[in-house]
Symmetry: C2
Subunit: 526 residues, 2 copies
C-alpha cells in the first residue's frame, strides 16, 4: 500500500503544479455526498486523502494567519448576527464535500485567533506547532486512557511525564501519583476528594453523613473552582473559608492559622488548605513555606493550585516563587496555560502513591480484568473519576521532547520579561494607575487606564462609577476593531481594571507597545 | 499572504514529483532544532508548513492502514519491552525536527488501530474521516468553551446541537438545557448533582450535613460510574441501591418500587433513579416507561444513562427501544460511542432549563463580567463543573452536517444488523453458548466459546474453572497475533465470556466471519 496524496487530487497544490484535472472529476467532487465516498467506504483512500489534504490546506492558512499581525484577532459578530448570517442547523440529509469544506472555512472565519501575538485575553494563549501536530496525531489515534490494552504508548508516556513533573515539583525521584484531568477545576476537585478520603476513608461507602463537618481553607484571591468542588462534593461552599490576602494578593498565614483554630473551636474538622501558586487575577504566589508549616502543625492536607503558576517550575530564574511546593500533598499544574500546550492539558500530582486508586476505584470487571496477560499496574483508569479519558499527555510530551526543559524555560522567561517591560512602561505613565504596587511576580499586570476626562477629578464615587465603565467600553471597542484582546474585571472594592497576562511566546515588545497605544486610542474620549 | 506548501518542501510528495532539493537544505532540516525555526519564530512559515505537512503524511498513512485488513490491529509489546525498546524520557535539551517525526512514527507503530474493521474491543471504535478533520480544526482553533467572547462559533454550535439532541429525545421544541462533558461518567455525575440540588438546593452552600440521607437507585447491570459519582458527591456508594435485572439485564420495575418503599421506610430520601439505555455488557435497555411511572409516583428524578444506547435515537427502526426516554429529567448520550464521533464527545441533556446554572454557578467576575457588550446568555461556562472546557461539539456537528441524520441512521442500522448476523451465526453453532437467550437489542452479543475438550464435560465446577480461562487466553493470543480484539469479562455468577460489540461502520459480514474463525483457531487446543 502506498500513500501518494497529491498525484490524484484536484486541490490547490495540484493546480499550482499545473496538473490538469478533468471537468467531470471536478464536478463529481463538488456534488458528491461525503458520507458515501470517504473511508471506510470501499476505495475511499483517494477521496479521503484529498479531503483531509483540503482540510489541512485550510488549517495551514489559518495557522499562518494567526501569527500575522496584519490580520484581525477576531472578526466580531453579535450572537444574533452570527445565527442569521449563516445556516448552522442540522438536517436529515447529508451535505456535499464542498459544503463541509465551506463549513470549516466559515467556522474559522469567525473564530478567535488564540495564537495571535496580540491576543492576551486568557491564561491560555498561543498556538504551539509541535503541540498542534501532537494533537492531530492524538485525534488520529482516537483512543482512551483507561487501559494499557488500548493505549499502550500513551499510558507509558503519561507515566514518564507525570514522574518528570513530580521531579520538578521536588518530590524525591519523582515518586508519587497523578493523572491528567479535564482542566484545573477538576484537578482541584480531585485534590479535595483525595484529601477527604485520606482523613476519612469511610466517606467513600458511607458518604458525608458518616463523618464530621469538614472545612477547607483557601485565599480570597483563589480560583472559584475550590468552591465549585466543595459544592459538588457535598461539603458545601459555606465550608470553604476564605483567608485574607495582603495587598499583593498573597494569603496571610497568620489569618490562616487564626481561622483554623476558630473552626476547630466550633467543632469543625479542617481537612484541606488550598494554596495558590499564581492567582488568576493578580498572579500572586501564596507563601508556601509558611503555609506548609501550618498544615504540618495541624495535620491538614496541603494542596497547591499551581494551574497558572506551575509552569514557573521550568525556569531556574523564577521557580523560587514556588519554594515550599515540595511540601505539598498535591499539586495542580496546567501545562495548557503557561507552557502553551494546546487545550486541554492539566495534571494533578499527588505525593502519596496508591491513594487515588483506593479513593476512586470501583473494580469494573469489564475493563480491569484481573486475568490479563500483562502487568496490570499499567491499567490506570480506575484511579480516575472518569471512565473514558481523553489522551491529553501526548501534546505535552512531544513539546517537551521538541523544546527540552530549556526551551520551555526560555519561552517562560521571555513572557515574564515582557510583563516586566509592560510594568516598567506604565507604572509612571500618565493616565495609568497600578492596581497593586511592585514588580509583577507572574505575567499578570493589573492596571486602570484613566481617560483624560477623569485625570483631574477628585477620588470620589462619581469618579469610581465612571472609571468602572472605562475598561468594558475599551474592551468592546477592541473586539469590534478586532485589533487586540485583554481581560478586565472588578475585584473586591476595586472597580473594573485591566488584567494583562502573557503566555504566548509569539508576543514581542512591539505588541506590548501596540496594546498600550490601542488602549489610549480607544479610551481617550471616555 | 499566500500559502503554497509543496513548492518549497523536501517531503515525500516533493520527491515523488521529482522536485530536487539541495543537499545543504536537507542537511539543515535534519539537524536543526524544532523550537527555533517553527512559528512563531520569525520567517517560520515555510518550515512550519513543511513540518505539519510531514506530520500529515505520517497520519494519512496511518489512517489508510487503519482500514486495511492486511495490517495488524496491534503490534503488541509488553510494558517493559516498550519501555526498553525506545527512549521515551524527557530531557533538558531539544530534539531535532527529524527526531520529532520519528517520535510520531514510533508512537503510531505501537498504537492500537482503533479504526481497524476488526477492532471490537470497546464501545468506541472506528475512525470517522469528517470527525477527524473536525478534530484537527478544533486543535487549530485551540480555544475554550466558557464564554461566547472566546468561542463564538463553538458556543452557538453547542446550542444548536444540544437543542437538536433534545428534540430527538422527544422534549417539545428541543427545550431544556445541557452540556458536553468529558465523558459519560462525568455526565452521569452531573445528573446526580443536579437531581440532588433540585430536591435540596441548600446542599450547595450547606453540604450534605444539612440535608437528609439520600439514596439513588440503578440496576445491577448499570455502569460503575453511578457508584463513582455517589462516592465523589459525598453520598456514598452504600446509598446506591442496585435493583435486580431480568435474565436479559433489564431492570425489574417491581424490584425498583419495592426498594424505594424499603428505603423510605428506613427514613432515607430517594432522589434519583438512573435507568440504563444500553448496558455496558449485555446492551440491555431498561423498561423506561415503567420506570418513569414509578419515578412520577414517588417524585424522584429520572435519569437515563444512554451513553451507549442513546445513538439508537437516530434510527427509525430501533429508537422504540428507548420509548419513555422523553419522560426523563436528564439523559446521558455519548456520540463518541454508537455514533462514531472521535473521543471525547459526551452530552448531558437536562429537561429543566436553568437548573444547571443555579446548581453550579459561582459568578467568577474575571470570566463572566456582567457589563459585556453582547447577550450574556451565551456565556455558558458557569453551568459547568469545569472552568476551562474542551471544544467537543465541533466533531459531532460537522459529522452531522456531512451525514445528515439519515447517514447516522444508516451506519447505526448497519452495526445492529451485523450484530444480528453474528447472533444468528453462533446461536446454534457447535462450540458456542449464548450468555442470554434471544436476539440482541443493541450490538452486544455475549457468548462463551467452548473448546472441544470441554464440550462433552459435565456442567460442574471443574468445567467452570476451565471455561473461565478460555476467553483470557484467546484474547491474549489475539493481541499477540494482532489480528483482532474483542472484550471479555465475568458478570455475577457467570465466568469469563466474550462481549462482542460493533460500533464501527467499517466492519462487514466478512469481519464477523473472521472473528469467529479466529476464536476457533486460537481456542481449539484449550
Amino acid at each position: 500500500m502506498s500513500v501518494s496524496v497529491c498525484a490524484e487530487r484536484p486541490c490547490s497544490i495540484a493546480s499550482e503544479k499545473g496538473i490538469k484535472l478533468s471537468t467531470s472529476y471536478l464536478h463529481w467532487r463538488v456534488t458528491m455526498k461525503v458520507f458515501y465516498y470517504l473511508l471506510p467506504a470501499c476505495n475511499g483512500e483517494i477521496t479521503t486523502m484529498s479531503f483531509l489534504q483540503d482540510i489541512v490546506d485550510i488549517l495551514l492558512q489559518y495557522v499562518v494567519k494567526s501569527f500575522d499581525r496584519t490580520t484581525k484577532v477576531i472578526d466580531f459578530h453579535y450572537p444574533n448576527e452570527l445565527l442569521q448570517e449563516y445556516n448552522w442547523e442540522l438536517a436529515d440529509q447529508p451535505q456535499t464535500l464542498e459544503e463541509i469544506l465551506l463549513n470549516c472555512r466559515t467556522t474559522l472565519k469567525y473564530a478567535i485567533k488564540t495564537g495571535h501575538p496580540r491576543y492576551f485575553n486568557q491564561l491560555s494563549t498561543g498556538l504551539d506547532m509541535v503541540g498542534l501536530a501532537a494533537d492531530w496525531l492524538t485525534s488520529a489515534a482516537n483512543t482512551n486512557m483507561f487501559t494499557y490494552e488500548i493505549a499502550p504508548v500513551f499510558v507509558l508516556l503519561e507515566y514518564v511525564t507525570l514522574r518528570k513533573m513530580r521531579e520538578m515539583v521536588g518530590w524525591p525521584g519523582g515518586c508519587g501519583d497523578g493523572i491528567f484531568s479535564p482542566g484545573g477545576a477538576i484537578s482541584n476537585m480531585y485534590a479535595m476528594l483525595i484529601a477527604r478520603f485520606k482523613m476519612f476513608p469511610e466517606v467513600k461507602e458511607k458518604g458525608m453523613a458518616a463523618i464530621p463537618r469538614l472545612v477547607a481553607f483557601t485565599s480570597e484571591h483563589s480560583h472559584f473552582s475550590v468552591k465549585k468542588g466543595a459544592a459538588a462534593l457535598g461539603i458545601g461552599t459555606d465550608s470553604v473559608i476564605l483567608i485574607r490576602c495582603d495587598e499583593r494578593g498573597k494569603m496571610i498565614p497568620s489569618d490562616l492559622e487564626r481561622r483554623i483554630l476558630e473552626a476547630k473551636q466550633k467543632g469543625f474538622v479542617p481537612f484541606l488548605v488550598s494554596a495558590t501558586a499564581g492567582t488568576t487575577v493578580y498572579g500572586a504566589f501564596d507563601p508556601l513555606i509558611a503555609i506548609a508549616d501550618i498544615c504540618k502543625k495541624y495535620k491538614i492536607w496541603m494542596h497547591v493550585d499551581g494551574a497558572w503558576g506551575g509552569g514557573l517550575l521550568m525556569s531556574r530564574k523564577h521557580k523560587w516563587k514556588l519554594n515550599g511546593v515540595e511540601r505539598a500533598n498535591s499539586v495542580t499544574w496546567n501545562p495548557h496555560k503557561m507552557m502553551g500546550v494546546p487545550l486541554q492539558c492539566s495534571a494533578l500530582l499527588v505525593r502519596e502513591e496508591g491513594l487515588m486508586q483506593s479513593c476512586n476505584q470501583m473494580h469494573a470487571s469489564y475493563l480491569f480484568q484481573q486475568d490479563k496477560h500483562y502487568d496490570l499496574s499499567y491499567d490506570t483508569g480506575d484511579k480516575a473519576l472518569q471512565c473514558g479519558r481523553h489522551v491529553d499527555v501526548f501534546k505535552l510530551w512531544l513539546m517537551w521532547r521538541a523544546k527540552g526543559t530549556t526551551g520551555f524555560e526560555a519561552q517562560i522567561d521571555k513572557c515574564l520579561e515582557l510583563a516586566e517591560y509592560l510594568y516598567n512602561k506604565i507604572k509612571n505613565r500618565e493616565g495609568y494607575e497600578m492596581v497593586f504596587d511592585g514588580k509583577p511576580q507572574h505575567t499578570n499586570v493589573c492596571f486602570w487606564y484613566i481617560p483624560p476626562s477623569l485625570r483631574s477629578m477628585e477620588d470620589n464615587e462619581e469618579r469610581m462609577s465612571r472609571l468602572m465603565k472605562v475598561a468594558p467600553v475599551i474592551k468592546a471597542r477592541m473586539m469590534e476593531y478586532g485589533t487586540t484582546m485583554v481581560s478586565y474585571q472588578p475585584l473586591g472594592d476595586k472597580v473594573n481594571f485591566f488584567r494583562m497576562v502573557i503566555s504566548n511566546p509569539a508576543a514581542t515588545h512591539q505588541d506590548i507597545d501596540f496594546l498600550i497605544d490601542e488602549i489610549e486610542r480607544l479610551g481617550q474620549d471616555l
